[in-house]
């Protein structure tokens, strides 16, 4: 027999089973609001209070946006009701200089990041495809083709390393997106490059109607990390303290040059996929009720009250703040947005090309003629 030449091996073999997630989703506060003391220390009380405050506002924003679809002010709205802990916990764990790469279901995350809610809703209002300047708050446009944003996050994070800048990218994805090829490529590129990126996978159980069992045969989605040499973390996605703590640790790891982390947060989408979807066709009300009983706001509120960090007055003030937030949003969304037909041609290229200038002038002439005939 001839000897088989050894393949060149990676200089840093992965740590093996150290990359595997825990068997049970990790949590810091249980559904009854009791701290799970053996799991580790909780974030400081002001952080927990802020997580709760942002979830209350986020929940109210979400309800307001759903109401705006019924009034015809929004074309569509994909709710994240139920995923509030992921939306808020993931974003609050970011530092000022970090970037967020959200999907269409992550409006609450973007609002939590500080983007003007009216600008967030431009997409769903049908005004323009993205209403905010991504560079202003370091938030990429909401991504509609799922999983494609994972690669953008990896590229942005790798560029930061190449430029010797301390920036981490947090990308939000869901259970369905893990079946897309881009997620595979992003995890692989991130691992090979040791890119400072955190994958926060909100596993809400369904890709529109398709349940997780039809999406994967893996023991968990966090298990996929080991195949890339990336640590996988399985956490309770309805525990804001656990989401915050895990994402923050992953951000620190990434910033410290230790590379990417894959976090699977188990959660649930309480509402249908969008207002145009009928969720009763693919899931039963018992299942929804069971998840309503695991509500992330109720859980953190129970903890804060038992810890003496929240009383009826404080809860009332928060509710009033959220109502005020919604009232301002409602008022501002009632205004009609002026649309400029010439803008159709303005941003396709850095400067409109000669053929586009021709088409713009032709449309404007057409509109002038129509105006004169009226």
């Amino acid at each position: 027999m001839t000897a088989v030449a050894a393949h060149p091996v990676s200089s840093s073999p992965p740590a093996g089973t150290g990359l595997l997630p825990s068997g049970e989703p990790w949590q810091l506060i249980d559904p009854a609001g009791q701290p799970v003391t053996e799991a580790g220390p909780l974030p400081p009380d002001p952080t927990l209070t802020e997580l709760y405050r942002r979830m209350v506002i986020g929940r109210r924003f979400d309800a307001q946006a759903t109401a705006l679809t019924k009034q015809g002010r929004l074309a569509v709205y994909p709710s994240s009701h139920g995923q509030d802990a992921c939306q808020v916990g993931g974003v609050l764990a970011l530092r000022e200089q970090d970037w967020l790469f959200p999907t269409y279901r992550d409006s609450v995350a973007i609002v939590t990041r500080g983007v003007d809610p009216v600008e967030v809703l431009s997409l769903l209002r049908g005004e323009w495809h993205c209403g905010y300047d991504p560079h202003q708050h370091r938030v990429a446009p909401q991504c509609t083709p799922l999983a494609t944003n994972t690669l953008h996050a990896v590229g942005l994070a790798h560029a930061a390393r190449l430029k010797d800048e301390d920036t981490v990218a947090l990308v939000l994805l869901g259970d369905g997106a893990t079946s897309e090829g881009d997620t595979h490529e992003a995890l692989n590129f991130a691992a090979v490059w040791k890119a400072p990126v955190v994958f926060l996978l909100q596993n809400n159980g369904y890709a529109i109607s398709v349940p997780l069992a039809k999406q994967t045969a893996a023991p968990s989605l966090a298990h996929k990390g080991i195949g890339y040499g990336i640590p996988g973390e399985l956490i309770d996605g309805n525990d804001a303290a656990a989401v915050y703590t895990t994402v923050q640790a992953a951000v620190e790891r990434a910033a410290g040059g230790q590379g990417p982390t894959l976090i699977e947060a188990l959660t649930y989408r309480i509402e249908a996929h969008t207002n145009a979807d009928d969720a009763t066709r693919y899931r039963n009300s018992d299942e929804v009720a069971a998840w309503l009983a695991r509500d992330p706001l109720t859980r953190l509120e129970a903890y804060l009250r038992s810890a003496g960090q929240l009383d009826d007055d404080g809860a009332g003030r928060l509710r009033a703040e959220a109502e005020q937030f919604a009232a301002v949003l409602r008022e501002r969304m009632n205004a009609d947005v002026p649309a400029d037909p010439a803008e159709l041609f303005a941003h396709v290229y850095a400067e409109p090309t000669a053929p586009l200038r021709e088409q713009r002038d032709s449309l404007l002439a057409e509109l002038r003629d129509a105006g004169e005939q009226r």
Partner: protein, 345 residues
């Protein structure tokens, strides 16, 4: 800006290599990456020596994944870099199609101009090298049909240098199609980055009787046909489009209004091919100057053939001359269409 090369004999591959080196030297934000572009220097050696000269942080190999290459380039550009990425072959670029069409082409528009993606996607394209399947596609129409992309293709070494430098400097994403069968064509030239705008076509041969319009790999064939046509008494003008999107209507219409006749030549399949757009534009814009229908000489509407048969597929000098002969010089109906034009297949 003049390159470090002398005005000596240079190949297209060499000119592209010099363009990349000069761009890397001129701008610290330029990064070059793709499959085999680092240590190996690219399968066509277009990136030869660049990793050694500029280091692994500027010129590097990636995992074998084209969507990954274009997708991460988008993120890098969002963070201020100017990525120049290589798709190893035309047909190997298809996995990146979603990133190209859904994001590369649209992010600027999506964000009302807030996000600029100065990315060049280099793609060796076209046949004529005896390549096996998946190595010879002419994929330009896919990209040219996508608003938000610029599509550029050089036909000569000097143009390859200039157009690549300009593409790298361009704030828009550019699909840079390199006609691989011309990689080793030589020219004595001074490599310069300045000159005409990126989207300006070139009249590469003046003429009065007919305008022959081509780009990329078939420009040389078209020039040969023009030389042969001269021997038969036709003084043909030849236009090299250089930029397929946006297209330089002005140069085209100015020429065709003068000559009254036009033939578009490319090796991609004719049906819904790039030449159809040119023929339609010329009909719309030059109808009263046209003495004959605009004809196309293209590859057949077939998957790219195996090497043994590719000679039949590629537009040849003879096929161009045949089209020239059918340009209504005697004002007779074109017999070619009398039988087949209305017939059912």
């Amino acid at each position: 800006m003049t390159s470090t090369l002398d005005a000596a004999t240079v190949t297209m591959a060499g000119a592209l290599n010099t363009a990349l080196a000069d761009a890397l030297a001129a701008d610290q934000g330029v990064v070059v990456f793709g499959e085999d572009v680092g240590t190996l220097g690219g399968v066509f050696r277009v990136t030869d020596g660049l990793a050694a000269r500029f280091g692994q942080d500027r010129v590097f190999d990636t995992p074998l994944a084209e969507a990954g290459i274009v997708g991460t380039a988008i993120g890098m550009a969002m963070n201020g870099l100017r990525p120049v990425v290589e798709m190893q072959f035309d047909a190997f670029a298809y996995p990146a199609f979603e990133q190209v069409t859904s994001h590369l082409a649209k992010l600027r528009n999506r964000t009302r101009g807030a996000v600029s993606l100065p990315i060049v996607v280099r793609i060796p394209y076209g046949g004529g090298i005896g390549g096996v399947e998946h190595h010879c596609d002419s994929s330009e129409a896919y990209y040219a049909h996508t608003p938000g992309l610029r599509v550029v293709t050089p036909a000569s070494p000097a143009d390859a240098y200039r157009l690549l430098r300009q593409s790298i400097d361009c704030p828009d994403p550019v699909i840079f199609l390199e006609p691989k069968r011309r990689y080793w064509s030589k020219e004595t030239a001074q490599l310069e980055a300045g000159g005409p705008a990126l989207d300006q076509a070139a009249v590469v041969k003046r003429g009065t009787d007919v305008t022959l319009i081509s780009y990329g790999g078939t420009v040389a064939t078209t020039l040969e046909a023009a030389a042969a046509a001269a021997e038969e008494g036709w003084d043909a003008e030849v236009i090299d489009l250089r930029s397929l999107s946006p297209v330089d209507d002005r140069t085209l219409t100015e020429s065709v209004r003068r000559t009254g006749r036009a033939v578009v030549i490319h090796e991609a399949a004719g049906f819904c091919g790039y030449g159809a757009e040119i023929a339609a534009r010329l009909s719309e814009r030059c109808f009263h100057s046209l003495q004959a229908p605009v004809l196309r000489v293209t590859g057949f509407d077939i998957p790219y053939p195996a090497p043994a048969l590719e000679g039949h597929h590629l537009p040849s000098t003879d096929r161009i001359l045949d089209a020239l002969a059918r340009l209504q010089w005697d004002d007779e109906p074109d017999e070619r269409w009398l039988d087949s034009g209305g017939a059912h297949a």
